[in-house]
């Protein structure tokens, strides 16, 4: 029978991180890019938790709380900026952001 080991979780988090990273590279909508970032951060959380479970200690789980708090702070800042752009041009696509060149 299969036994779900730590490696499985680490592989899953690596896959999640890659999905987030490539999503970040190819998508053009600022909100979707933002969700990709969240996916990457949660992949990090999964790594921390599974390693913490593997070593039988609590440090990694505490690290997750810090990551969550930082991610929440970044959501606040990011959405503020996106809203301020949306007011100007009613689109959240980064393609229209082409004023600066050179």
């Amino acid at each position: 029978m299969f036994e779900v080991t730590t490696d499985w979780y680490l592989t899953l988090s690596a896959i999640l991180f890659s999905i987030g990273f490539f999503g970040m590279m190819i998508r053009k909508n600022a909100l979707i890019m933002f969700m990709c970032i969240e996916l990457m951060l949660n992949a990090v959380n999964l790594t921390f938790i599974s390693a913490s479970k593997h070593f039988g200690q609590i440090d990694g789980q505490i690290a997750v709380f810090f990551v969550l708090v930082v991610a929440a702070a970044e959501v606040v800042v990011g959405l503020a900026i996106i809203v301020s752009i949306f007011r100007k041009q009613s689109s959240a696509s980064v393609d229209v952001l082409n004023v600066s060149r050179g």
Partner: protein, 467 residues
């Protein structure tokens, strides 16, 4: 936030006084220093290295406040929040310079950069400012998640968060050159590469610098960059010290590319802020070079000494350069410096300051920039390593190219004929800005003429590396 609009200058005065007084504990710590003090289970340290860098960060923030006072009052900016956010960013920088574990350094980096996302979009109605802010934000959080994934891999390997325990675990299990550690090092380097804007992670810098209010740009190009470098130095030497030969090669390539590309693009700019953005990208290549070589040779002390010296001198001369751009673009009302013909005749003081800063950035003796370049080249050529010498040659060629565009601005403001003579217009040079100019120019001269004051840094970096 609660004060009426007219009395907002209390906030500025309070922030200025607070920043100045926060230097006092540093002086006391320096005077009573005996050995590094560890706190919070070895995750926070007070040693001479961190005291010097804290002093640097506090001084930079103080000068940025002085730059900001008139600028922030002159337009419809939010004033109270402005000072609060800059102070938060300062706190982050201070935490980074003392941190000795993965979580502390991550919180420090984020605390230093998150307020800057907001500040770079401080001109709310301006499309360029919004665009710069969103680019900076998206790449900033991308870099944060890259750094974090690198950290989580390290934790997964060692089960430790404190640097000393991680590196001793990596050494004892002879994991220092395992693929996972290298992947983690690459993730951390590319994440911090965004913060210090080295090629190929530099694309946000010119747009963000152009859109942000000018004092914020000055702060970004000096303090944010310094924070990134300090985090990089701490991580590479405290955690990845055993795998130096691998990340050394990567950093050498990045450093060479950064110097060259930054310079070549800066040559074609006519907007002074974009010019300074590309010039600061190329300067980042110079700061990175000694660290890169020290990874290959293993002589971290010398590398840290050269990088930190360059970083300190660069900080002051670059702040000064942004001050002069601020003065002249205000007066000329143009963001194309080819139209600044003869503006220096209007205010010789500002003209002389500008010439000093730009020549110092170019590395002309006896100014500070010359000593900074000298230290870097000494470290590169003294490494007696063919890669180091090759990087030194690339740096020397770049130093010559850089002279072209630095000298061009000085030539335009002194020698070109004025395009439109407007005798009525008064050249505004407010007192706080004069303080910034005189202070930075003093540091630029003193560090070039009496470089002996930096020799103590050699001792300091040995303390840093010894513990």
């Amino acid at each position: 936030m609660i004060l009426p609009r007219k009395s907002k200058y209390y906030v500025a005065a309070f922030a200025l006084l607070g920043t100045l007084f926060s230097l006092a504990p540093l002086v006391i710590q320096w005077a009573n220093y005996t050995s590094p003090i560890y706190a919070f289970e070895n995750s926070f340290v007070v040693d001479k290295f961190s005291i010097i860098l804290k002093g640097l960060f506090i001084l930079i923030t103080y000068l940025t406040f002085l730059l900001s006072i008139n600028f922030i009052e002159s337009d419809k900016y939010y004033q109270g929040e402005y000072y609060y956010l800059l102070l938060s960013s300062l706190l982050g920088a201070l935490i980074v310079s003392s941190s000795r574990d993965l979580l502390t350094i991550f919180i420090g980096i984020e605390l230093a950069s998150t307020p800057m996302f907001l500040l770079s979009g401080w001109k709310k109605g301006d499309r360029k400012s919004n665009e710069g802010a969103i680019k900076f934000f998206l790449l900033g959080v991308l870099s944060a998640s890259l750094i974090l994934y690198g950290f989580s891999l390290l934790y997964g390997l060692s089960g430790k968060l404190v640097f000393s325990e991680i590196s001793s675990h990596l050494l004892s299990a002879s994991l220092a050159n395992s693929p996972v550690v290298l992947l983690s090092a690459i993730l951390v380097i590319s994440g911090i590469g965004f913060k210090i804007s080295v090629v190929p992670f530099h694309s946000w810098a010119p747009d963000t610098y152009e859109g942000a209010p000018l004092p914020v740009t000055a702060y970004l190009s000096v303090s944010s960059k310094a924070t990134g470098f300090v985090a990089l130095i701490i991580l590479l030497t405290k955690v990845f010290a055993g795998s130096g030969s691998s990340w050394g090669i990567i950093l050498v390539i990045i450093s060479g590319l950064t110097m060259t590309l930054g310079n070549l693009v800066a040559l074609q700019q006519n907007n002074p802020v974009r010019l300074l953005a590309y010039s600061s990208i190329s300067q980042a290549g110079f700061i990175l070079a000694p660290i890169a070589i020290s990874g290959i040779t293993g002589d971290y002390q010398d590398g840290i000494f050269a990088s930190v010296t360059y970083l300190i001198i660069y900080a002051f001369m670059n702040l000064g350069a942004f001050l002069s751009v601020h003065l002249f673009s205000n007066y000329a009302g143009s963001t194309n410096f080819y139209e600044w013909g003869g503006v220096a005749r209007k205010s010789p003081l500002a003209g002389v300051l500008t010439t000093v800063f730009f020549f110092s950035l170019a590395g002309i003796p006896p100014l500070g920039g010359w000593f900074a370049k000298f230290v870097v080249f000494r470290s590169l050529l003294g490494s007696a390593n063919s890669i180091g010498i090759a990087l030194g040659v690339v740096g020397a060629i770049n130093a010559v190219i850089a002279l072209v565009y630095y000298a061009r601005i000085s030539k335009v403001i002194w020698m070109d004929e004025p395009k439109s003579i407007n005798e009525e217009k008064i050249f505004q040079f407010e007192n706080p800005l004069k303080v910034v100019g005189v202070f930075t120019v003093l540091i630029t001269f003193v560090s070039g003429i009496f470089p002996g004051i930096f020799s103590y840094l050699g001792e300091v970096s040995s303390i840093f590396f010894g513990n």
